[in-house]
């Protein structure tokens, strides 16, 4: 019985939802994963919002949605830096050590993101049709200028060069559309992140950081974009407001980054070493 109890206790941990710009208690009652009470662990003038949780939870859609729900509830009262899903510590002490380690970064991000929200704009275009059109145009121009060429090396090089030209033209066309759309939305945003052609038909996956007072303007802008259908045959998907998931920037280097900067013998540069020791 005692062993069973011990084993159960050892499986409990601290599940983290977000860093917030307050060291006060959370006034509203929020329940997190497994119905556990969500509370703030203060560190200096900021805090990390957590709940007690089993280390191993069934990872299901409802847990992911619960994580997001807690972060969004916090966003109503605080500036938040959402943690990535399923970041757990064994004890509060460990969470506080992490806060100590990253405190400067967290404060900078909280200051930069205060009173701002994230919006997402995805634009789908008929990329496959566009590419086929470009290919057809090349085929036609090649047919009219066809020269018999028996050299397989030459024809291979020619084929590769044509593929390159088709890709380039395809990207140039995508860039034109993206520039138009992005110029339209950027007017209301203070920061943005643009992902181009993540797949053939996903022309644009963009994230805009918008000040709270411009939130309604941004929503209207999106409605207008959809109504007037900027660039014709495109489909727009809009989401937000979100916590600023895409605009958190931690400058403290990870081990992975430090190793990638190390020389071939695994040595980290003297400058980096001093930086790590806080001497630079």
């Amino acid at each position: 019985m005692q062993a069973a109890k011990r084993s159960r206790i050892s499986r409990m941990g601290i599940y983290t939802y977000a860093i917030i710009d307050s060291n006060s208690k959370i006034s509203s009652s929020i329940n997190g994963l497994g119905g556990a009470v969500v509370y703030n662990i203060p560190y200096r003038n900021i805090g990390i919002v957590v709940s007690e949780s089993e280390h191993v939870q069934d990872i299901a859609q409802e847990h992911i949605l619960k994580h997001e729900e807690v972060v969004e509830k916090l966003m109503e009262d605080f500036t938040v830096l959402p943690m990535r899903f399923h970041t757990l510590f064994n004890r509060e002490k460990d969470a506080l050590l992490m806060m100590k380690e990253y405190c400067g970064d967290f404060r900078e991000n909280l200051d930069r993101l205060r009173n701002k929200k994230e919006f997402g704009v995805r634009v789908i275009w008929p990329g496959d049709i566009k590419r086929n059109r470009i290919i057809d145009a090349y085929k036609k121009s090649n047919a009219s200028a066809a020269m018999p060429d028996s050299s397989s090396v030459k024809s291979f090089v020619k084929e590769k060069f044509e593929e390159y030209k088709i890709d380039k033209e395809f990207e140039e066309e995508a860039d034109k559309y993206i520039a138009l759309i992005d110029n339209f939305f950027s007017r209301w945003a203070c920061e943005k992140k643009i992902e181009k052609l993540k797949s053939e038909n996903l022309l644009l996956n963009a994230f805009y950081l918008v000040e709270k007072e411009k939130e309604e303007d941004f929503k209207e802008a999106f409605e207008r974009a959809r109504d007037i259908c900027i660039c014709g045959d495109l489909k727009y998907l809009f989401s937000g407001p979100w916590p600023p998931y895409n605009f958190i920037s931690l400058t403290k280097k990870t081990l992975h980054q430090r190793l990638s900067e190390a020389d071939m013998f695994g040595r980290i540069s003297p400058e980096q070493n001093l930086l790590d020791k806080g001497m630079l």
């Binding site: 280390h55 191993v56 990872i59 299901a60 997001e68 460990d94 992490m98 997402g120 958190i248 081990l255």
Partner: protein
């Protein structure tokens, strides 16, 4: 939950997954080394319900494959 998320947004599950699983504050393994006392457990990457793209990107991440097993 529904009230918070779906009320005013044109939200798809994919939008949520892409953010919650792949973005936000990502504390990676260096903290285990740089602070000997810290016992950080991060198991999220083992258990994803995610888009293929997200999965592929995470496979290349430092914790891919889940180096830390839950106790």
């Amino acid at each position: 939950m529904d009230n918070v998320i779906t009320k005013s947004k044109d939200v798809t599950l994919l939008e949520i997954l892409d953010r919650v699983l792949d973005k936000g504050v990502v504390i990676s393994g260096d903290i285990v080394i740089s602070l000997a006392d810290v016992d950080l457990i991060y198991v999220g990457l083992k258990v994803l319900i995610s888009s293929v793209e997200t999965m592929e990107r995470l496979r290349g991440a430092p914790f891919a494959g889940g180096q830390e097993e839950p106790n």
